[in-house]
């Protein structure tokens, strides 16, 4: 259950940082829903500390709805900040040791 909680974290699903503003969250969700509808390869999976997870329109909707609720957002922020570094996505196995967090955090748009 805990693993699910980490992997299904709305911030991971949407690929935005826990500092994202409400409007950024909405904009990202709208973009992802459009990309999923048109079958964009890039939108089909998202990196999490447990590796890549498939992204569905339902998951995106649930994520944005959760972040609209102040209490649920607080819990999600807490989990996202405590979560181990993200694995999968752009990271290569060699880079996983030291580089992965930075690479994937960048892929997620969490750091420049």
């Amino acid at each position: 259950m805990t693993a699910e909680r980490v992997a299904d974290n709305p911030f991971f699903v949407l690929g935005v940082s826990p500092e994202a503003s409400r409007i950024e969250v909405e904009r990202e969700a709208q973009k992802l829903l459009g990309m999923l509808e048109l079958g964009f390869e890039a939108a089909r999976a998202y990196p999490t500390p447990l590796g890549d997870r498939p992204r569905t329109a339902e998951a995106v909707r649930a994520a944005v709805a959760a972040l609209r609720d102040p209490y649920q957002r607080l819990v999600a922020e807490l989990w996202a900040r405590h979560a181990p570094p993200v694995r999968g996505g752009a990271a290569t196995p060699e880079a996983a040791a030291g580089e992965a967090p930075v690479v994937t955090r960048r892929a997620l748009g969490w750091c420049p």
Partner: protein, 819 residues
């Protein structure tokens, strides 16, 4: 002649299919206008008449026949939607279903739109009450299909009202809003919040049995009591006289909204018990207000309860939006403003606000109402994804060119010439992603300009797109938790209350009995329930998915996997599917999606049963001196007395009253379950304390940092629920704490050894003893080796072989599956 270049601006249509009146509105991206009917009125009575030639009349003209020819004129059929109950039209010698009658009203509105705008409408948003049950929503969709709509979305009425009221609000309008919707037969209170141009539904509450009709009946009974022969509701022979009196009462009530006095005079005497009874009475505003005030107070009690649930009190609201005919009464407006201590939103038409909001929502959902031309598209086809309405000033536009060799560049030019996007590159697979800039609170059209690899301009289809900037609403939330009842009497939750729609969820269950191929009697039942409690018998059964022996291609043994998927569309329409991988078959026919029939006899039996339970609970509550429980039970007493009156009227042939009574009894049943839970409060509090202690120590020892932080949150929520004496919430938080604790515990090796010992001690009851014995042997070996993964597999295998308790299964609506 058809225009070869039809305008690209979409037209969004909203329909309020009401119990008493219906209305339609259209939104063109800039302005919302209410559609007028042939009589130039903005509302059309939801009344349908069938004459002896089978000709259909709808609206004001049909309403005139309600008094003269009531047996061939139907009104208030919306309340019977989803019941499967037919409405007879003896003159035409036919019976119509409620959805067929609703379809006639929809057809009339569709025709009005055509007459006024010359546009044939195929898609629309139709509003439904917030507390509509799933079968009623399904019947509404069916009515739209019968009326010739290709696609409709359903929207909850309070969201529609708030959207319409918020759209016109000046300034940012931030804060909490209450929509107070007192309709003909139902009352809905909804709490909303607007922030950053996004409207969010915080919560709603309501009373399905409270509305303007209660006002009318109270006035009717007051008038009836003054006649020389008093007509009674439980006497079928008096129905005609009461109907005539009620229509007169309704007219008098409307007149008293403007004047101090009204005369109630009928042209023809009433015929009661073979006597002619003259009606010539006077009614004054003060009397009507005195008669109606208790109903308004009941609505206000519900509203304050909703505010309290969300930590708000009177005086904390930014605005109150009034919706529905009865809210026109000055007394209602004054009482609401005074008790809620809030400003009323002015300048809205309470009769058409819902239709206007539905039209605005159609834009949010991108549901263009126009029938699309089938002419071959000219230019390179693009699939586009963009929000039709956006609160964001710079939304994304995502697109894909169809076919090989797409253009290489694309840009968007706003029609006012004030802004053009830079060139966005198109990927070799035809996809592109860019954003556009909108003007605040305006509809913006953008021309699409694509360029090929040769640098030449490429025509596209569509050639342009339109986005409206303004208030938007998040996906509508599910009003009640939806799940599947299991054989152990518990519920597997699929979609939690508040989940955004559309939503879909799949879980794998396992059969607890064999489905024998070819055997008609062998049916595996998957009950679908709605409700907030974890015990199935405290939830409402809304449908069942049956897998019958006559349908399976091969026998399905005990323990076979069944993947159940439950799906709800934006309007809350339910579909369910069960896949049995073993035989590769899918079952998706959801049966019994009907509101059950309510025969007066069955209602009386239920009433007697509830009275008995009530007496028991009351005695017990008095003995223990539980004041809060006694208060709850007093409320139940009042509801039962009302339901009794309705059952009386049901004996007189009033099918609508029978449905009201049925739902009142269901409600009472729910309240009593609640009261029962409060009665068990001391035990619950005890077990909450134990849960907190054991979760703290388990999570403290074996949990991760995140689990520990989360447990702190859960413990705080448990403490709050305990202080508020909120039993269902405390139960829910306890479940969360137990889940956290279980997750931490399962990470240890002792956990599985303990589960194994527990399961092994019960193998005498296993369905397949040899298999269970083999598993126990494998488990022992795994314990010696310290192989937790293997032990986990063994334990799960053992659990699958142990039977469910038959008592529990009955409570689970005879469910044939377990988790």
């Amino acid at each position: 002649m058809a225009d070869p270049n039809p305008p690209v601006t979409p037209l969004y249509v909203g329909i309020d299919l009401g119990t008493t009146n219906s209305a339609a509105a259209v939104f063109d991206g800039e302005r919302v206008s209410v559609v007028r009917n042939a009589q130039s009125a903005t509302v059309t009575p939801s009344v349908v008449r069938l004459d002896k030639q089978g000709r259909i009349t709808v609206g004001t003209r049909a309403r005139r026949f309600l008094e003269q020819d009531p047996s061939n004129t139907a009104a208030e059929f919306k309340r019977l939607m989803g019941t499967g109950q037919g409405i007879a039209f003896p003159a035409a010698g036919t019976t119509k279903k409620p959805e067929e009658l609703s379809a006639e009203v929809l057809k009339a509105l569709r025709q009005d739109i055509f007459d006024q705008l010359g546009v044939n409408i195929e898609r629309a948003v139709i509003s439904v009450p917030a507390l509509f049950e799933l079968p009623q929503s399904a019947a509404t969709s069916e009515a739209a299909r019968l009326a010739g709509f290709a696609r409709v979305e359903l929207l909850q009425e309070p969201i529609a009202s708030a959207l319409a009221a918020g759209w016109r609000a000046d300034g940012d309008g931030a804060g909490s809003w209450l929509v107070f919707d007192l309709g003909g037969g139902t009352f809905d209170a909804s709490l909303l919040e607007t922030r950053d141009g996004l409207l969010r539904v915080v919560g709603h509450d309501g009373d399905n049995f409270l509305g303007g009709r209660d006002f009318d009946w109270a006035i009717t009974e007051h008038l009836a009591a003054q006649l020389s022969v008093v007509p009674r509701r439980n006497e079928p022979g008096h129905a005609g006289a009461l109907r005539a009196l009620r229509l007169a009462a309704e007219d008098a009530k409307i007149e008293l909204s403007r004047n101090e006095r009204a005369q109630v005079t009928l042209a023809n005497p009433l015929r009661i018990d073979d006597q002619d009874v003259e009606v010539d009475l006077e009614l004054d505003r003060a009397t009507v207000e005195r008669l109606c005030a208790p109903f308004v107070d009941r609505a206000l009690d519900v509203s304050l309860r909703l505010l309290a649930t969300h930590g708000l009190g009177a005086g904390k609201l930014a605005k109150v939006v009034l919706v529905g005919g009865p809210t026109v009464m000055p007394m209602v407006r004054a009482r609401v403003a005074a008790r809620l201590d809030a400003a009323l939103a002015e300048g809205h038409d309470p009769m058409t606000l819902v239709a206007q909001g539905a039209a605005l929502y159609a834009a949010t959902a991108g549901l263009d109402g126009r029938a699309h031309a089938t002419a071959a598209p000219t230019g390179r086809q693009i699939w586009l994804q963009y929000p039709a309405v956006s609160s964001d000033l710079t939304p994304h536009v995502v697109g894909k060119f169809i076919g090989a060799n797409p253009p290489t560049k694309i840009r968007f030019a706003r029609a006012d010439g004030g802004w053009t996007s830079g060139d966005a590159s198109v990927a070799p697979d035809g996809t592109f992603l860019t954003s556009v800039t909108l003007l605040p609170r305006r509809a913006c059209t953008f021309a699409i300009e694509a360029t090929g690899a040769d640098g030449k301009r490429v025509e596209t289809s569509p050639p342009a797109l339109t986005i409206v900037q303004g208030l938007t609403i998040g996906d509508p939330p599910l009003s009640r938790t939806l799940g599947v009842a299991l054989a152990n009497g518990m519920v597997q939750t699929y979609l939690e209350r508040g989940a955004p729609l559309p939503a879909r969820r799949t879980f794998t269950h396992y059969t607890v009995e064999t489905i024998a191929k070819g055997s008609e009697g062998s049916v595996l039942r998957i009950p679908i329930v709605q409700g907030e409690l974890s015990q199935a018998n405290l939830c409402r059964l809304v449908g069942t998915l049956d897998i019958g022996g006559d349908a399976v291609t091969d026998t399905v043994p005990v323990g076979a996997a069944v993947e159940v998927t439950i799906e709800l569309d934006r309007g809350g329409r339910l579909s369910a599917r069960a896949l049995v991988p073993l035989i590769g078959q899918v079952f998706e026919h959801v049966a019994h999606l009907l509101v059950p029939d309510a025969s007066p006899e069955a209602l009386e039996i239920a009433m007697r049963d509830l009275r008995r339970q009530l007496a028991e609970l009351r005695t017990d509550a008095f003995r223990r001196g539980l004041a809060s429980v006694i208060e709850k039970l007093d409320h139940v007493e009042g509801r039962l007395a009302e339901a009794e009156k309705d059952i009386d009227a049901a004996h007189g042939g009033d099918a609508d009253a029978a449905q009201r009574a049925r739902r009142a009894l269901l409600d009472v049943d729910g309240t009593m379950a609640d009261a029962d839970l409060s009665r068990k409060w001391p035990q619950l509090e005890d077990s909450a304390r134990n849960t907190a202690i054991s979760a703290s120590s388990t999570v403290g020892m074996h949990g991760t940092d995140a689990e520990r932080s989360l447990l702190q949150e859960v413990l705080a929520a448990m403490e709050k629920a305990r202080r508020d004496k909120d039993a269902p919430e405390l139960e829910r938080q306890m479940r969360l704490a137990s889940r956290l604790s279980t997750a931490a515990f399962n990470r240890t090796s002792e956990a599985w050894e303990w589960y194994f010992a527990d399961a092994s001690s019960e193998i005498g009851k296993a369905r397949d003893l040899p298999k269970a014995n083999a598993l126990v042997a494998e488990g022992k070996a795994a314990v010696e080796r310290g192989d937790t993964t293997e032990l986990r597999r063994v334990v799960k295998g053992l659990w699958a072989l142990l039977p469910e308790d038959s008592e529990a299964r009955k409570k689970g609506f005879d469910s044939g599956v377990r988790s």
